[in-house]
């Protein structure tokens, strides 16, 4: 029983990091209708900013908060001066632009900080607590709590605030939104800024575990995209649940399904995706989009 609980909590913790990135992708998608493949790279850049600030002697928590604020502006600036050139055109072109952005940011980080692994201090202590015979690290629990808090905030933002409503309106129909007096440009910038903030959170959560390198988020991004599709791109709660599901099922399948084992566990999320997409193309929690013609 101890092992089982251990695997579940560890899975939730790993899943939470996928979830932070997935939430950022959902946010951009909800605000602009785009999938931002550069999200992982932006998260790494944010983590480097926090690391540099911390290196200047600024306490870790403050450094992270400062990095979060800087990331918001970076995200907004990227939207305003780069992505906006592609908005309103073919969405595929914009997707390719974000892939280019990913390569650019990764290259930039490598150029400035090299590919050497940098040690990033953890927000949470290395201590552990005992739960039902399992040894659970405070870090795992902390990661999970942070993600739950963010998920609830986001859900409240989209469903309970004017800004959230405006963000959704801009995504669904920019032209109509503009006619209704919504400032489309500003909302797009805010959407990207908020997404960059989420990426920053994901970055500082994962950096202590993987050490800071320019390619740190590459595999997490693949899982995050999987979570987006599985959970449904329109639902913050959906993607978090999906990311957790991926993390936990991966762990359990590796240990309890001999056929899969640790070697094949990377395939688990993708098998899940295929199954879900066949049954529910909009994802587990997504809404079917209906267009009146």
């Amino acid at each position: 029983m101890g092992t089982f609980i251990q695997l579940v909590i560890d899975g939730l913790s790993t899943g939470s990091i996928y979830a932070a990135l997935a939430l950022a992708i959902v946010l951009v998608n909800q605000a602009t209708g785009l999938i931002n493949f550069a999200q992982g790279g932006m998260a790494v850049l944010s983590a480097y900013i926090a690391w540099v600030l911390n290196g200047f002697g600024i306490p870790l928590l403050l450094a992270i908060l400062a990095a979060v604020v800087i990331s918001f502006f970076l995200g907004a600036v990227i939207e305003r001066f780069l992505i906006r050139r592609f908005e309103g055109g073919d969405p595929d072109t914009a997707v390719v632009a974000t892939i280019g952005l990913l390569t650019l940011i990764t290259g930039l980080c490598a150029w400035i900080w090299t590919y050497n692994n940098r040690l990033f201090p953890s927000l949470f202590p290395l201590e552990t607590v005992q739960i039902a015979g399992a040894v659970i690290s405070v870090r795992s629990l902390g990661t999970i709590v942070v993600i739950v808090a963010i998920m609830l905030l986001l859900q409240a933002l989209f469903l309970g605030t004017k800004l959230g409503l405006a963000l959704r309106a801009v995504a669904i129909n920019p032209a109509s939104a503009a006619f209704s007096g919504v400032n489309v440009g500003r909302n797009l910038m805010v959407g990207w800024g908020l997404a960059a903030v989420l990426g920053a959170v994901a970055g500082v959560l994962v950096a202590p575990q993987l050490t800071l390198t320019p390619g740190m988020m590459d595999s997490a991004l693949v899982y995050a995209l999987a979570a987006c599709i599985l959970g449904g791109l329109s639902s913050p709660i959906g993607v978090v649940v999906a990311a957790w599901l991926i993390g936990v099922l991966e762990n359990l399948a590796a240990v309890y399904v001999p056929f899969i084992g640790h070697d094949l566990k990377i395939a688990v999320p993708f098998i899940l995706i295929f199954v879900v997409l066949i049954v529910r193309p909009q994802g587990l929690f997504g809404r079917k989009a209906v267009v009146r013609v």
Partner: protein, 423 residues
């Protein structure tokens, strides 16, 4: 376009990326394919060498996840020959003094790119050397044989490169994985106590080689029992589940045959979280004291052992020694590498530079054939920064240039030689 269609399209893009990721995980092993032949050797001087200079080619990962060790492979040898060139050049056995130029290309640890890099370099360089990676080096093994281009002193522990019949134009530099695994096994088998061993290994030639060597050495030792054996993929972001499972085995010795730096750190941390405190065996390329053991909190374990043939630049005493200080200075000056390297590959490729200089000194003709003959005739050569007891010896078929390794035990700062388990 309706939102639904857009979503479907996005879904298909993502699914496609997923498939690529799965394939990439499965295709860790590269295969070589015979390629068009190119007239390589000749009676006159071979390509890439004049009376004044010689050019060496390198293909190695300079970007992507393996870029850390990859950039280190270029930095070490560039530093070595940078310093030599500044002194006027390297003396060759044919009486000429030549400067040594390095041409390094990025293969991103991708076998296809490595092959393309080789094709680009083969007619302009004298020999290919120092590049890191088993699948990448294997990708152009056959082509190098067909073209008669030396592919020597490369950084892979795959035994195929040191087998003269299969690889007449090749020679590995670092000990084959089996040798390192065997050294651990011998140390443990010599212990007076009973031991239960848990093994976690990378699911490719690297991990298999280590485990194979270890098992060979403990064959017949009745005080050793392997209680649990698991694997992981080099693409995994977490091995927490494996550690949890292995901790349950109650092993007192853990052989972690892992090549991915962050995963070793998180393994050390995870084991402590689980309250599992075995003795550790770590491969030579993932046992850096400052880059891995300190952040992983390795001092909590009764013993952390590694095998090495070269000094660790990350050890606290390194910079205090004359050789170490010179190395760090040259690395900064000639290779633009200001940090103390966290990877051993910088030191290794520096030693490759020294080994090549030794070989150049014995070359009587500026040809690739003559170079290979001189290369296979180095014995008992002590390259700079070698640990006592290790030497470069290229005369034994089936073994790479360096085949003797020392088991070392972590002492909280750096490493000290470990003659036996119970000391």
């Amino acid at each position: 376009m309706s939102t639904n269609r857009r979503r479907m399209r996005v879904a298909s893009v993502v699914a496609g990326i997923g498939i690529v990721a799965v394939l990439a995980a499965g295709c860790a092993r590269g295969g070589g394919s015979p390629d068009s032949t190119d007239e390589g050797g000749g009676a006159a001087a071979s390509p890439g060498i004049t009376d004044e200079s010689i050019t060496l080619g390198i293909t190695t990962p300079l970007s992507g996840p393996t870029a850390g060790p990859g950039t280190c492979t270029v930095a070490g040898i560039t530093a070595y020959f940078g310093a030599r060139n500044a002194e006027g050049g390297v003396e060759f056995g044919d009486g000429n003094t030549r400067t040594v130029e390095i041409e390094a290309l990025d293969d991103e640890y991708d076998p296809q790119k490595a092959k393309a890099n080789y094709d680009q370099l083969k007619s302009s360089v004298f020999a290919m050397t120092a590049g890191l990676g088993t699948p990448t080096n294997r990708a152009w093994l056959d082509a190098a044989i067909a073209d008669e281009v030396p592919q020597v002193l490369i950084m892979t522990g795959d035994p195929i490169f040191s087998n003269q019949e299969e690889s007449p134009w090749q020679l590995g530099f670092v000990p084959i994985y089996q040798n390192e695994g065997e050294a651990f096994g011998e140390l443990l088998a010599g212990s007076a106590e009973e031991h239960k061993v848990a093994i976690l290994s990378q699911n490719d030639d690297y991990g298999e080689g280590y485990v194979e060597g270890f098992k060979t050495a403990i064959e017949g030792a009745d005080n050793i029992e392997i209680v649990k054996e698991l694997t992981y993929e080099a693409t995994d972001t977490s091995v927490d589940a494996q550690l949890t499972e292995l901790a349950g085995s109650g092993a007192d010795v853990f052989f972690n045959a892992m090549s991915i730096t962050p995963l070793v750190i998180s393994s050390l941390q995870k084991a402590q979280e689980l309250g599992w405190l075995p003795s550790w065996f770590l491969p030579s390329n993932t046992s850096s004291p400052t880059a891995i053991l300190e952040p992983g909190g390795a001092a909590a374990f009764p013993g952390v052992y590694t095998v090495a043939f070269a000094q660790s630049a990350a050890a606290p005493t390194f910079a205090e020694s004359e050789e170490g200080a010179a190395f760090l200075e040259q690395l900064n000056e000639y290779a633009d590498y200001p940090d103390v390297p966290a990877f051993p590959h910088c030191v290794w490729s520096y030693q490759i530079g020294a080994t090549l200089e030794e070989v150049f000194g014995n070359m009587t003709e500026p040809t690739r054939e003559n170079f290979m003959a001189a290369l296979r005739d180095v014995s008992g050569f002590t390259a700079p920064l070698m640990l006592e007891g290790s030497t470069v010896d290229t005369t034994e078929d089936g073994q790479p240039a360096v085949s003797t390794v020392q088991v070392q035990k972590y002492n909280g700062r750096g490493y000290a030689p470990a003659e036996s388990w119970d000391e």
